[in-house]
């Protein structure tokens, strides 16, 4: 049975969701494209009017990106350099029309293998905050996006925020997207990375994630380990090897072959490391 609800506070939203299973929408930019040529005939919970879910705030341990925070909000926010990758992704999520209404959290919930927001947030060790029947729980992003269009959301769960640990404060972030045209393009491959450098100029921590090369975006733990302790200079790129990508399982499709995706992923990784090593 179709219904529509647009509450203005979280409590009402959760209360409603607990009683009526509903499709949650905010920006609508994934919802409508999936329904071209057919009517909306489902129960809808529109969370876009819940003010408390919008905006970026800080806690002692996290940056907190509320669930209805748009890509435009993110671009307009004052955020440190570790968000540069996420900001670069924000500029490439659809056109500005999409960036103006689409939400960061929605990009995660849609769980496309090519979601532009996932690799940067994975490389920031993001955690999602979920309000469910049993209260609030936190889940690492890697455990939230389970597969193509599959997430850990169940029943009356509502994703309410994306949390980025402050441990990355002072880190450098970057993001490279490869598509077959300049804008409005679904990624063939994308790479995001976050890097901290110690007082001696060596890599303290590195986090790298690849998107569109598996059912979900993946971190590259072997490469990250190989980078640790190395001087943060152009030689980092030379550490990238095919072995680091063995956990990926890209597909052949009209955007590119699997072999091409792996090849391009390695190239993008090298370039991203050069960029991160040379940034201040």
């Amino acid at each position: 049975m179709s219904s529509y609800l647009r509450p203005t506070n979280l409590e009402d939203a959760l209360h409603h969701l607990a009683s009526v299973p509903a499709t949650v929408i905010a920006g609508g930019t994934d919802f409508y494209p999936a329904r071209v040529g057919r009517p909306v005939d489902e129960a809808i919970l529109d969370i876009s009017a819940i003010e408390e879910l919008r905006g970026i705030s800080t806690t002692s341990r996290h940056w907190r990106i509320g669930a209805t925070t748009t890509w435009r909000d993110l671009l307009d926010a004052e955020l440190p350099g570790c968000f540069d990758g996420l900001r670069a992704a924000a500029r490439q999520v659809g056109g500005q029309q999409v960036q103006n209404v689409a939400t960061v959290a929605g990009n995660l919930c849609n769980a496309s293998p090519a979601a532009d927001g996932v690799p940067p947030l994975l490389s920031l060790d993001a955690v999602v905050e979920i309000h469910g029947a049993n209260g609030v729980r936190l889940l690492p992003l890697a455990d939230f996006v389970l597969g193509n269009r599959r997430t850990a959301l169940e029943g009356s769960d509502l994703l309410t925020a994306v949390l980025v640990p402050k441990a990355w404060e002072g880190a450098r972030g970057g993001f490279l997207k490869l598509g077959a045209r300049s804008s409005l393009v679904i990624s063939i491959v994308m790479v995001a990375g976050t890097l901290t450098v110690d007082a001696h100029g060596s890599v303290e921590r590195a986090a790298l994630a690849i998107g569109a090369c598996a059912e979900t975006a993946r971190r590259l733990p072997e490469l990250e380990a190989a980078l640790r302790g190395r001087p943060a200079d152009g030689d980092l790129a030379g550490l990238v090897s095919p072995a680091h990508f063995q956990a990926l399982s890209p597909i052949d499709d009209h955007r590119g072959t699997a072999a091409y995706r792996l090849d391009a992923a390695a190239t993008l990784c090298r370039r991203l490391l050069l960029e991160l090593a040379s940034s201040p």
Binding site: D12, G37, P39, S182
Partner: protein
Amino acid sequence: MNDLGQNLADDRVTVRVFLNGQRQERQVAPMKRLSEALREDFGFTGVKVGCDAGDCGACTILMDGMQVCACMVPAAQADGKMLVTVEGMAADGVLSRVQQAFQRHGAAQCGACIPGMLAAATDVAARKQNPSERDVLDALGGVLCRCTGYRKIIAAVVDAGSEPQTTPPGAETAVGARLWRSDDVAKLTGVERFGADVIPDDALWLRAVRSPHAAAEFEIGDLQPLLRGHPGLSRVLTAADVPGNNGFGIYPDLKDQPVFADGLVRYRGEAVLALLGEREAVLAIDPEALPIDYRPLPPVIGLAAATAPEARQLHADRPGNLLIEADVRCGDASSALADCAHVVEGTWRTSSVEHAYIEPEAGYARRVGDRIELHVTTQTPYMDRDEVAQVMGLPPESIRIVPTACGGGFGGKLDQSVQPMVALAAWLADRPVACVYNRPESLMASTKRHPARIEARYGCDGDGRLRAMELMGTFDTGAYASWGPTVAGRVPVHASGPYRVPNVNARGRAIFTNAPPSGAFRGFGVPQCAIAHEALIDQLAEKCGLDALEFRLLNALRAGDRTPSGQELTASAGLAQCLEALRPHWQRARAEVAEHNRAHPVRRRGAGLGCMWYGCGNTGMTNPSTMRVTLSAAGRVTLYNGAVDIGQGSYTIMRQICADGLGLPIDAIEQVVGDTDLTPDAGKTSASRQTYVTGKATELAAADLRGRILRQANAARDAAISLADGILRVADGGIVHDIPLSQLPADADGVVLTGEATFDPPATPLDADGQGAPYGTYAFAAQLAVVEVDLELGTTKVLSIAAAHDVGKAINPTLVEGQIEGGIAQGLGLALMEEYLPGRTENLHDYLIPTVGDMPEIEVMLIEDPEPTGPHGAKGVGEPGLVPTAPAILAAIRQATGVAMHQVPATPDRLRAAILAAGEAS
């Protein structure tokens, strides 16, 4: 609404908006797309629907000052917002600065993207005082345009802050002046009405149900339960309902495409039946729930499969799946090739390409007594009329076609889409019946550019003079004939390119497969063919140690030469001038590329050339246009202009030609456009024929009327005429005659004098060897592309295009540039990104066309080598813009990478694979 805002979706919510400067409120279904709510509930049809998926941006509006795609905003979310659509941008009849800049720069062509473009442009203009080109590209990146190549739009937005100029540039004569479009204000203010904008409120809705299979037999089961279950569904139309011939097609003997398939479907997307009823009821039906029992057949996909000996035959009367083949033979190509000092050869493959006009197919029909009136988006009203008539079993005079504004065509709106279905339904229901394709339907159902396999050999003597060419062009014509014969006929004529070649053996053939029908698409097979001949020309130049431009110049067809069809080019063969205009650009580009590459081993640049020639008008057959211009007793001059303007500007340039022909200012020329009851047949808007053929008819019709006017005063040919207050003044030397027009005998329409003329270009049929004079004239062009290839990723960025085009005479240089720039954009898409795959790329995020950021800098150079049979020397330019672009880009890629791409699009993965393979081979 309760405290939680809860509502059933059937219920409506109150949406209060501040819309285009006015407070408005409507009761709207909360999840209705805001685009639909604005069009249907608030009445602002300036909001265009191009995809419903955020892929095209045509529906872009401003919401609280920010650009959003209205198709993805729930109507309920607009509550309390300030909205601006294209209708709200002008204030008190004065265009906004951004609109004025679009007008000055000729930024609108078909106009279907313009409402979205203007919203995006207004957004950036409000944010940035003097936006940089980068700012503009970012802001417009979400709006697709298929006509303009974006350059004039970018220029307009960058220039929007400058002091407005409110009147068009003045000129002594209209012809040759950069006059603003006759229809630009309508296109810039949302007043223009496209196919989906004219539908009456009481229209029934028709929705075709299409085959999900490329090949299948099918049976339709009992439809009564469906009809009973959906009270709003009034009937289901099938093949059995078609009263006339259940078949349409371009050629009189090839009406092979059914309106509704009759037990057998031959492509994914073929119409099987149509649902007719109230709109919401019809759209709510799940096609998969219909009682259609498909028995899939193994589909015949691709040329190899279709031509294999064991291939299943798609049409009983077409053995070998061969639709048609056509030859051009002159001299003795095979023995001449044996004698050549240098011979090169190769095979090239091109993909299926979608027109991707921003306006999907749309229109409605209504029955008026024993006649049917159709209001549709089309490139060809008279062909529509005749096609609908034979499907309905009615005489052509019983059908009236009133073209709406056409939101892009490029050849794709030369075939039937909604026309026969809505005509049939309106006839049976005796109610207006509308049909609007959604984007996936448009992609699935419509025709495509023929995928091709071109095998060619080219040879020259030791001095670099071309001696012989052989070409076999095999074209995948898909499930039905459509324009396949035109492609097969045009290709061999143009096979050897714009060069003097004494020995040619060229064949074009069209093969049936279970792909969507391939039809007309800007160039009719010549763009595919040019990819082959230009690659071979480059190789021959290298073999001879000659510069690629000088080699082309040496061999360029010139006036006095004979074509491979045996036609003597008596005038207006301007390839040499085009190449000479490009020479400094070419030399500079070569030097800059070499310097860049010394410092950049990974992102390497290359420069490449592409040349073309293109016969204007139909191939070897009559294709007349008739134009009429009248003078009324009230002193009004009306041009009856049947040359449908699909964005290229025929509603502007015909007025220019008419004005000069009469000796009156352009503002004096009113128009009645493209209505088969009112305007004479000006043929179809295709084959680069309107400027040349209809333009000439206009010139002659204006001369006819002017002659009649002068005879009223026995005045000399150079007498000046003017009109004021119903008085015709003829000033002949010192003598002034004032003729009160009301004193002249008037017909029932108040017309006192009429000029009319028909022009049919001087073409003759081709014989079995393709010999004859297939066209009245040819356009010539040369383009230079500079690209940068990322060798590690296989990505190509086109940096610049210099385009030199011999257009005979530019009737309106701004419009001519627009055609060339738009053609370049489509050529770029063909070369680098466009590939239609049924079932895979049925939307505009999987099927990629160039966005604003993909466009290079473009410099257009207009060469005017006049064509004596054309109006003021003009010839066509619609298709020539596209033809040389892909060859030039591929040549530039080859120079940058050393890799010759034999398959387009040269997508990043294909190019990277080729680079890797070349590296392994070396």
